[in-house]
Symmetry: C2
Amino acid sequence: MLGPAITAGDYPPGSVLRTDELAQRFEVSRSVMREAVRVLESMHLVESRRRVGVIVRPAAAWNVYDPQVIRWRLAGADRPRQLRSLTVLRSAVEPVAAALAATHATAEQCAAITECAIGMVAHSRGHKLEGYLLHDVAFHRLILTASGNEMFARLGDVVEEVLAGRTHHEVMFDDPDPAAVTLHVQVAEAIREGDAARAEHLTREITEGALKELDILAP
Amino acid sequence: MLGPAITAGDYPPGSVLRTDELAQRFEVSRSVMREAVRVLESMHLVESRRRVGVIVRPAAAWNVYDPQVIRWRLAGADRPRQLRSLTVLRSAVEPVAAALAATHATAEQCAAITECAIGMVAHSRGHKLEGYLLHDVAFHRLILTASGNEMFARLGDVVEEVLAGRTHHEVMFDDPDPAAVTLHVQVAEAIREGDAARAEHLTREITEGALKELDILAP
DNA sequence: TCGCAAATAAATCTGACTTTTTCTTGGCGC
DNA sequence: GCGCCAAGAAAAAGTCAGATTTATTTGCGA
C-alpha cells in the first residue's frame, strides 16, 4: 500500500507521484486511486496540485493523531520513536484524565475500573501476559472515558497500541512489575474515593514507569 | 457541505444517506461525491456499506483530532463544549511540553520564544488584541515544537483555534490580564534557564487561568 | 520583461458493468 | 396453518474506462 510506504519515509518530502502511474502500479482504475489519494490528502500525507501531480508532504505536516497513520507508523521502521512520542503523550494526558475521572466517574464506571484492576492482579503472575494486557487496556480506556472529555476518550486506541506493542513486540518474558500492578489498584481506589489529587499523582507514577521502561529498552 | 452538517448533529447516528441522492443534492457527479464520502469515512464520520448506503456514525466514533473536524465543530452549535474539551486537553499537554522544551530547546528556539513573550508585552495595552493574539499563538506553538515531541507539535493548530476563538468570538473588550502576560514572560525565562519544573508549573498556571476564564464565560 | 499560447496532469463527468449484502418469496417439513 | 431455510431478485456501493474541462506551468516570441 501507499500509505505505509509514505509514512515509512520511502518517498522523500516533495516527491511527485502521478495518479495514472500509481493506478497502473497498483492495478486499479484511476477513480479508485483518486479516492485513495483524496484520503491520503485528508491525512495531510500528500498534497495534490493540478498540472504537477501528487506531492508527498514532510512528516511535520502529517496528521499523526489519525489512528490509521499511527498504525502505519507503528508497523514501520521508526516504531521506537513513535512509541516514545505516544508514551510521552500518555504521560501528559493520563494523569489529568485520572484526576477528572475521580470527580466525574459514575458508580458503574468505578466498579468497572476496580474490576479491571482486580483482573490485572489475577493475571499478574504465571505468564498470563495476554489476560493481563486485556485488563490493562480496559483499565486505561475506562479512565480516559470516565474523564468525561471526548478528546481524552479518543486516545484509548493510542493507549491500546502502546500497551499491546510493549507486550507483543518488545521483550517481555517476565511477569509485570508488582509495583506497577499495585499502583493500578491504588488508582482505582483513589478514583472510587473521589481523590483527584491522589489519582493524578499515582497515574503519573505509572506513566513515568512506562517512560523509564522505554529508556531501558531503547536508550 | 456535508461534513459540517454531520458534525453539527443534523443527522442522528444511524441515518442512512445514498451517494446518488447526495450527488444530486450537491449538484456534483457521483465520482466527486464518492471521494467526499471516502474522506468522511476516513474521519470516521460515516461508514459506507454495500446494499445499505452511507451510515452516519455516533459522535463517539469521530476522529476529533482531525483539524478539519475540529474546525467544523468549532463553527457549529456545540462550540462551547468543544472549546472546553480542547482547553482541558491544553491544560494536560502544554505544561509537560513546556518542561520538555526547557531541556530540549535550542538557543534559536529560546530566542524566538522570548521574542514572542516580548511581543505579547508590547501589545498587552491599548486594545492591540490582534497583535497580542499573533504573538500568543506563536509563543505556544514554539513551545509545543521545542518540546521535540511530534504529537505535541501537531497540537499547535488546536491551540491557535482556541486562542483565536477566545479573541474573536467570546467577549474580550479589555486588554489581556497583566498577570497572564507576566506568566508568559516567566515561562520564557524558565525555558531559557533550563528550569523544567518551573516552566511546567508556570504553564500550568496559564492553562488553569484559561480554564477559569471559560468557567466565568460559560459556567 | 511581459504576455500569450501550448502542453500537461489533475479534476470532473458520464454511462456501463460488477459485487456484495439484504430482502423477499416460495417450498418444504412439522 | 405455522415456521424455517434456501434460492433468487433487488438495491446500492464499488469498479472501470473514455471523454471532457480546468488550471497551472513552461516556453516562445514580441
